[in-house]
Point group: C2
Chain length 571, copies 2
Amino acid sequence: MHQSKLWIPTLREVPSDAEAKSHSLMLRAGLIRQLAAGIYSFLPLGWRVLNKVSQIVREEMDRIETQEVLMPAMQPAELWQESGRYAVYGDELIRFRDRHDREFALGPTHEEVITTLIRNEISSYRQLPISIYQIQTKYRDERRPRFGLLRGREFLMKDAYSFDASWEGLNETYWKMHGAYCRIFDRIGLNYRAVEADAGAIGGSGETHEFMALSDIGEDTIISCVECDYAANLEKAEFFQSQETATESDKSPASCYEKIHTPQTHTIEQLVQSLDRTANSFIKTLIFVADGEPIAVLVRGDHEVNETKVKNYLGAEEIELANADIVLNVTGAPFGFAGPLNLAIPLLVDREVAGMTSGIVGANEVDYHLINIQPSRDFSIEEIGDFRNANQDDVCPRCKGNLHFSRGIEIGHVFKLGTKYSEKLGGKFLDQTGKEQWMIMGCYGIGVSRLLSAIVEQSNDLNGIIWPRSIAPYQVHLIPVSVKDSTQMELSELLYSRLISAGIEVLIDDRDERPGVKFKDADLIGIPIQVIVGKLAGDGFVEFKERRTPADKIAISIEDAFLRITELINS
Amino acid sequence: MHQSKLWIPTLREVPSDAEAKSHSLMLRAGLIRQLAAGIYSFLPLGWRVLNKVSQIVREEMDRIETQEVLMPAMQPAELWQESGRYAVYGDELIRFRDRHDREFALGPTHEEVITTLIRNEISSYRQLPISIYQIQTKYRDERRPRFGLLRGREFLMKDAYSFDASWEGLNETYWKMHGAYCRIFDRIGLNYRAVEADAGAIGGSGETHEFMALSDIGEDTIISCVECDYAANLEKAEFFQSQETATESDKSPASCYEKIHTPQTHTIEQLVQSLDRTANSFIKTLIFVADGEPIAVLVRGDHEVNETKVKNYLGAEEIELANADIVLNVTGAPFGFAGPLNLAIPLLVDREVAGMTSGIVGANEVDYHLINIQPSRDFSIEEIGDFRNANQDDVCPRCKGNLHFSRGIEIGHVFKLGTKYSEKLGGKFLDQTGKEQWMIMGCYGIGVSRLLSAIVEQSNDLNGIIWPRSIAPYQVHLIPVSVKDSTQMELSELLYSRLISAGIEVLIDDRDERPGVKFKDADLIGIPIQVIVGKLAGDGFVEFKERRTPADKIAISIEDAFLRITELINS
């Protein structure tokens, strides 16, 4: 491709609205443009990369015999009512009415559509298992679209759905899909981890993994063991629970508790300072509302409540921190002074709190705390469990190895749905004995457009993007320094033709621009191999440079350049 | 591909809701399934064909250096307000509000988006011309979705937009695109015509062609000359206007007009019968409302008013037949008795009416007509023009050849937009003299998913679809008659491997089904080459059949079958 004919509107300045490095680079390299918050156009270079990523996804889906289809984005509301999600999906679901006043949703996902499709066409175990996928535009009206393609409102997704006749079958399909995802992300050149994730209230066996591209701007926290292969996201992460739950708090047999005056101390940090005790001497009492009912969760002062663990323990649909009114109503005191004594609501006590010999708690009275509180003695422990996040002091639940904390961008997700949707939408089949059974489903997603951001976030330097070879918009960037120099241009066009004939994708910068502009654009765009045709052209020599190792620029003959390129690309 | 692993839910019965042959066949062959009126899922085979069609479109767009992008379907209403189309687009435009109550439209087309994108990025004549395309999902809330993919509410379209610095440039781009469209439809194997179409009130040079797949179920009428290459749709079609506008009506100098009693005769047909005169003795007076104002159009009794010609003559935005109330109000009589005398509204007189020496008109009084009416003498002729449809008696406006009438499905459209959108949306550039100019635009559409219906409509027989080779879901259908016969299966798998190695797409029917079921499915699905491996397998022979010529089934050796297939596919 001749660059003079390709629309690549590069930008010199960093766009003011770009919060993430990838967002800024993708705007600057002329890959995307924003139309509205969270809604982007893919320009020619961006489209090429998107297409290459899609192609890799497609190849790996086809390899495991998942069949490609294309389902509509316009979905009748009835389907969502049937599954029960119309009421609970909230503002993220885009809804509208057609000219006949019938309600529709713009699909954020396709469980309803695929389950309906399959239930109408498949009725026997002989037709199972079947796996279906599509690469299709999804709509989610995010509260806070940001980071360019990372959290958008209209985006490209690969979503797959499997239907099995048995749980063993689903398990096999699930791990096949898991393997395909690993191959996809490997081929794309991402640094990622597959981590255990929380299945929420979806039921079924609930096994689920998230694929996380490691990145500081990731919205998820990943915990991984430095010794074994255990990895989970923060919501799900477990840790080794020692039997003796020793604490730093006072080990002597506690005397009766006492009320102390603690004016203006609403937080553990303030208490630590004013009372000169370590954070783990305290017991935090947090009031939540779970499905409309207030509850209290007790964790040690140096720990954080894990809402997902609480929610799963309760089997609740929704959980959120109580507001000031509810806290006042339930505890009799404002925020910061809640404690477990005499609360008329369920107490969920974290295992490590239960093991404390003494702790400091709120007095349910403004400006007062209680010290020398002994769990069991001073408040009853009926509901005990793991209700907190893992932290840096914890060790691996499997091997007691140290845990490593990092941030990740969710790029993929595999999920054992079980019979949740088949039961709601009537997805039945006749088994070998002629008995009706619910189909056992799985669902599997990859954020195709989001992958571009994840890659750029991982693969860049001060000068721009560094595309992995498998998804680069072009494989070679050929840069004649001056288009007015006929020797340079002839040599460039010669090499261009040879490379094109060898089936290599080449972008030749035939623009009449200053060399500085060309080099800057080339680095920004990030094509992995650069060949600069300059002063040495008369001797048949060019400069060869790999984008990721710019310091290793070497002068070689055009013949060697050709060999080196074909070798690199075929390696 | 092994058919046992491919989801092709064929149907034996003709679906009751399928109005068109293509619709029925596409449902029966398991290509598509309806989700809601005008909204379809593409199943694996349907998706494969859709993808092949898209690929051909893509290749021909790339060949003429049109650059591929992907624009969003979610479009802010502000853009449509800026272009002025938000108010006029009507119910076909799907509208909704996001969580922040901002209005959006689901794009039925992308002039607004592309013009905004280009205006922000391109500012100089040096960056022009540029042509952009995408293959993307469009939304139009049709009043009457029907015929399967032919008139849907969510459909796949290729839309292209060009920006030139001059009208000459646009003309060149336009004809390049026209050529690409011809190559696309040729490659797809369609029987089509490019016809002149009406540009409506869009302004600009307004040149526009529609590409019509010939088909009896087409919603458009096409007129083409049997001698020269003149072709137009009915709205646009001109015809040779003889200077002497001879009529069959009374040629003798007319006496004064007379009022006659014509009870219960509301139509020309009834008048022809009751008065025993030919239809061309009458003058029809039709009342329309053009942009809110009533007007009368006069055409000969055997002619039909062409609303598009009337609309263009008036420069009106909208025109529709007046309702009964308006007719009564304007003429003083109900439907069927309108006439030109003493009407206080503009009279648009068709050229052939103006040339009549005598005619019969409504009396503007219930149950009365006037005979011996002489145009000019009895009513004044101020507005004269061509206001009627061409018909079978007309001849070509270019060569006076006979005109042929046929029906067509609109599959593509090329349009010189001119500066309509660039003016409204601020699409300016600096020309060579540094002066600001409006960009000169063109737009070019192909209904990609609709093409599938058009092809199937043209290419089928009693047994099913007959896919043209270029877009068939697979190139060869290999059918072992019995999967339990190891000789047949071994020979089949041998041929399968050889064909696959030669890069040929083969579907092998390895299902344990009765031969009748397999043959019926194969004919229905319509893969162009069938190879049946049956009783002769022991001798290394197979039956070779082309789907379009089923009678020519021959027994040949497996070696000859291989040669014949590769020859056919490479031809």
